[in-house]
């Protein structure tokens, strides 16, 4: 027995050593970024620790860029897409998993088939659509409403539709075959007994969905919500090609612009990156369990 425990202790030491060195590889870039964000630009070449600490990069980023606006845009778009996508996916998933109707399997197969279509294929026609929509709509309206600008107080909130509009940034993300598929698979694995007794008690289809199925599907809904939010928070190409004006940009696009305009100002770029990263780490630490179970759920069922 003594040999076993000493061997285990030795093994644990090795495991910790390997993990710690791998962790260093992960952490070094982050540490460098955080330290550099507190440096004056002339000090960037002078070792790791800032010789003079400064907060200028952070104030600089916030002043030179509509950083607060990027944040609000990213949060608003990601949460709207998440809310709508989870709702429409849950409704459709319930129909596919529980209701009997003609053509169900054919439609569902259609959904499945579209899951392997690359985003690049869909984006080109969507881009053309968003570019052309204002022209088409103005054919029907004498006022130039659809190519006009909107304001909320003194904040510019873009066009109603087409390029540079919240509509373009939100609408295409709201419907997901993957979300529908994942929730359907989850519902298929849930026992029907409670639903059936609810029907016997005189519950309507909607009542069963709202009061029985949704609460049961909470883990899957949470997982889908996290994925959708994270995916949207990180998405780059679509918002990049959809936005022209500064006030409509999301965080990644604004950040890319920052690196484009100030590609030699390392401190500024690092400060921008840190500002983008911190909230996500907080969110992750807070809902880590949901993340992990969500990924596993997505994979096992997918």
């Amino acid at each position: 027995m003594a040999t076993v425990s000493s061997q285990t202790r030795w093994q644990i030491a090795v495991i910790y050593a390997v993990l710690l060195s791998l962790m260093c590889l992960m952490v070094v870039p982050l540490l460098w970024t955080i330290l550099t964000s507190f440096k004056y630009n002339v000090d960037v070449t002078l070792g790791w620790i800032p010789p003079r600490w400064t907060f200028d990069n952070y104030t600089g980023v916030v002043e030179a860029f509509a950083f607060a606006r990027y944040y609000v845009n990213s949060l608003f778009i990601a949460s709207t897409v998440t809310a709508v996508q989870v709702s429409t996916s849950a409704l459709a998933a319930y129909a596919f998993a529980r209701l009997q109707f003609r053509g169900r399997d054919v439609i569902f197969l259609g959904y499945l088939a579209t899951m392997m279509i690359p985003a690049d294929v869909l984006m080109i026609p969507q881009f053309v659509l968003m570019k052309k929509i204002p022209d088409w709509l103005n054919v029907f309206s004498s006022t130039d409403f659809f190519s006009g600008f909107l304001f909320f107080g003194d904040q510019y909130i873009g066009h109603p539709v087409g390029l540079d509009s919240y509509f373009a940034l939100i609408a295409p993300g709201c419907f997901s075959a993957y979300g529908t598929f994942m929730l359907r698979q989850f519902l298929l694995g849930v026992s029907r007994e409670i639903e059936e007794s609810a029907y016997i008690d005189g519950c309507s289809t909607w009542g069963v969905f709202w009061h029985v199925v949704l609460p049961l599907a909470k883990p899957a809904l949470g997982a889908l919500a996290i994925f959708t939010f994270l995916g949207n928070w990180r998405s780059f190409v679509w918002p990049l090609i959809m936005t022209d004006s500064d006030s409509m940009m999301v965080l990644p696009v604004g950040l890319a612009k920052l690196s484009d305009l100030y590609n030699n100002d390392y401190g500024l770029i690092c400060a921008g990156s840190v500002l983008m990263l911190i909230p996500m780490i907080i969110v992750f630490v807070l809902c880590q369990r949901w993340f992990i179970s969500g990924i596993q759920l997505g994979a096992v069922k997918g």
Partner: protein, 314 residues
Amino acid sequence: MKRQGRAAIFFLLPNLLGFAIFTLGPVLVAAGMSLYRYQLATGTPSFVGLDNFADLLWFDSVDGDWQARDPYFWQYLANTLFLMLNIPLSMTCALLLAVLLNREMRGRIVFRTLFFIPHLCSGIAIYMVWTMLLTYEPNVGIINAFLWKLYHVFGITGPDAVALLPGWLTDARWAKPALIIVFVWASAGGFSMILYLAGLQNIPPELYEAADIDGANGWMKLRYITIPQLAPTTFFILVTSVIGGLQGGFEAAYIMTGGGPGGSTTTISYYIYTQAYQQLEVGYAATISMVLFALIFTATLINWRYGGKRLEAA
């Protein structure tokens, strides 16, 4: 039955409508557009049949030599495949991390969080940071600073050491390896690791107990129990990574290299971006995207054909 049909319409309609407008419609339009020459800013679409496909894929015989009509496409396809070399490396790292983390130990959550961080930030932030880390000048780029120190340890100094420093993002030979390093860093600790952790939980402990009785060492247990038992997980990760890899590389190229030097880091998706949204040649871009679709479709078919068997065997 009839009542359920009516209810089904209510439940399906919102999703079906969005699906028709933003998925089904665009796919059909993209397929149609690939048959047109269409410059969005100046022209109206003109039907050219399969000419776009021929221009993209065909080879002409010039003085007995076969020359591609669009040599860029083949170069960029090769780039895309080369950059997918990060997949086996990332998967190996993910497996290693999962095996190491799959036990009750102090700091497990801290480790897991730190390894997951790259998945939380936007790729843009990651690539911006790595652009700075991979800077050639060793007084700024910490990778080359490290190599510089290493050369000194081995007694290489002066001009020799300068000549040996890789120009990570400025030298066509080093740009792809540089991106692969970044991809591995960004993906090793993420979804694959968590999937492997889940897979490890499902391996029956009796297998390891039996191996202990037979006197197997750690390596043998990994080789003959863990890896075969994880085969379904490995296959799942591989397929999703290949499908992702074929459409990948845009953000890294956009931020880090601009597709260069000399087109050495331009992938298919970056090519589509430049054609569709910079040149506004949406017809040709749609053609490239349909070819990409075909590649992914093939990968998925191979998955269906062989994946099922693998899953049953494991």
